[in-house]
């Protein structure tokens, strides 16, 4: 899957206003917090979310994750796109 297949994704993803990532020491996990929402995230998902700060392009996020996990770039690109699409659907990414 290629980035250009998702024209609705922002160029430099950033969490929506009122949404932030927080490390929860009680549950030992990254959680995404929004209005009346608490979403627990696992390793790779939290690595993607931490990079959604408006400074990186999707391609840069994919590069960084591919390096971090020494994984196939195309596979990572698909995972990142899937996750961003899901975040958009939940309105947790800024438009």
């Amino acid at each position: 899957m290629h980035d250009s297949e998702h024209p609705n994704l922002p160029e430099r993803p950033r969490l929506a206003p009122g949404v932030r990532l927080h490390f929860d020491t009680t549950r030992n996990a990254w959680v995404l917090l929004g209005p009346e929402r608490v979403i627990e995230t696992e390793g790779p998902a939290s690595e993607i979310l931490r990079r959604c700060d408006g400074s990186r392009t999707i391609a840069q996020i994919v590069d960084e994750l591919a390096a971090l996990y020494t994984a196939d770039r195309a596979e990572i690109a698909g995972d990142v796109a899937d996750m961003l699409v899901e975040l958009v659907a939940k309105r947790m990414l800024a438009a």
Binding site: A16, P17, G18, V19, R20, H22, D24, T26, R27, V31, L33, G34, P35, E36, V38, R91, A95
Partner: protein, 378 residues
């Protein structure tokens, strides 16, 4: 009372509702505050709230909802917001907007406020102001809601739904969208406290409820890209109960203005429960051990039909306060459940109340008035 609870089985709470004060300029007849409002003199000071927030975060709480009454009625609101943020909590302000302006909002934003929820009473300003018993409230709410969005903050609009505004649910969603809210709560009134006292003037008919629910589903796709619509469904015409509070003493706690810690807003209506105060105990001990929290935690307290029900860990028997209010027994199955022998009675009460032609509110915290309020129930 239940068998002793294995403490390692007690999961940490996620949310804390901080009722900073019961003072409020508005007097909505469905207010979730208790009938006996706590006096100003008994309120916890900001330093005690700061300690409660630190204890809450250490216990596992992630989100704090600063509520009331009207939290802006506290002059030290900024200090309280700063303390919640410093404790690492996601900080949500639940406000009527009265008492807040752009300057005060900007200050709260700088101090770390994450989210603002503004209540609307109706789309029609005259009706809205009558429901809140406050002239000019509606216009000020809309202006403040726009300010929240202009500051780049996330806004939720909350509308409590009852007989006088149930015809306007689609318009309420439209207003939420027009002021730039990211989320709207269409919350059918829950009948405890003031709402229970005013049930005859608030309860919609079953047909009105059905139509309003359909209306929300009809317009939902129109807002799919920019507005989350959360629906709180009405209990009286339901077939299954809600998992009230996500289960008693399972996910959240509520601290009253004077520091009493409750499993839910209305828990003080249940007789013989022993509530502990943050003035006397650390929050962790209250969550783990206080008698009120232990009373209906888990499923051991349940009688039939809950005890053997496959859904007992889905809905946790519904709401204890509703069971008390309708059945007279806080340990009974919530009569919103069609498996409760009292379910037909609940439906009958709703149908009786909903056909009362008059709307005469007993306004929260206001002296009783003789005259009916001039409100257009549609």
């Amino acid at each position: 009372m239940t068998a002793p609870h294995a403490r390692p089985d007690v999961p940490p709470p996620l949310g804390l509702l901080a009722e900073l004060t019961h003072r409020c300029p508005l007097a909505c007849p469905y207010c979730s505050n208790p009938l006996a409002l706590e006096p100003h003199a008994d309120e916890l000071d900001a330093a005690t709230w700061a300690r409660v927030f630190r204890e809450a975060a250490a216990l596992g709480v992630l989100q704090v909802h600063l509520s009331g009454g009207e939290p802006a009625s506290r002059r030290d609101l900024a200090e309280i917001v700063a303390a919640a943020h410093a404790a690492g909590l996601y900080t949500n302000l639940i406000t009527s907007a009265i008492g807040l302006d752009l300057a005060r909002l900007r200050r709260l934003q700088e101090l770390g406020l994450d989210h603002v929820q503004v209540s609307l009473q109706d789309v029609d300003a005259a009706n809205a102001d009558t429901i809140a018993d406050y002239a000019g409230a509606h216009a000020r709410k809309l202006a403040f809601a726009r300010s929240v969005v202009e500051c780049g903050m996330a806004l939720t609009v909350n509308a409590v739904i009852h007989r006088a505004n149930i015809g306007h649910v689609a318009a309420l969603v439209g207003v939420a969208a027009s002021v730039g809210a990211a989320r709207v709560e269409i919350a059918h009134a829950q009948y405890y406290g003031w709402a229970l006292r005013n049930r005859r003037s608030l309860m919609p008919t079953r047909a009105q409820v059905h139509q309003a629910m359909q209306e929300v589903e009809r317009i939902r796709p129109r807002y799919a890209d920019h507005l989350v619509i959360d629906l709180v469904v009405p209990d009286y015409y339901a077939r299954r109960p809600k998992a009230c509070m996500g289960g008693w003493a399972r996910r959240s706690l509520n601290v009253t203005p004077s520091g009493r810690v409750l499993p839910c807003h209305a828990a003080e209506t249940i007789p013989n429960l022993e509530f502990w105060s943050v003035r006397d105990h650390p929050l962790q001990a209250i969550w783990m051990e206080s008698p009120a929290f232990q009373s209906f935690r888990g499923t051991d307290w349940m009688a039939e039909p809950c005890r053997s029900c496959a859904l007992r860990e889905i809905d946790f028997g519904g709401c204890r306060c509703q069971a008390l209010a309708i059945v007279g027994d806080a340990g009974a199955t919530d009569p919103a459940c069609e498996l409760s022998p009292h379910h037909p009675r609940m439906l009958e009460l709703a149908e009786q109340d909903s056909t009362d032609a008059d709307i005469r509110y007993s306004y929260r915290g206001r002296p009783v008035r003789a005259a009916a309020t001039a409100i257009q129930a549609r």
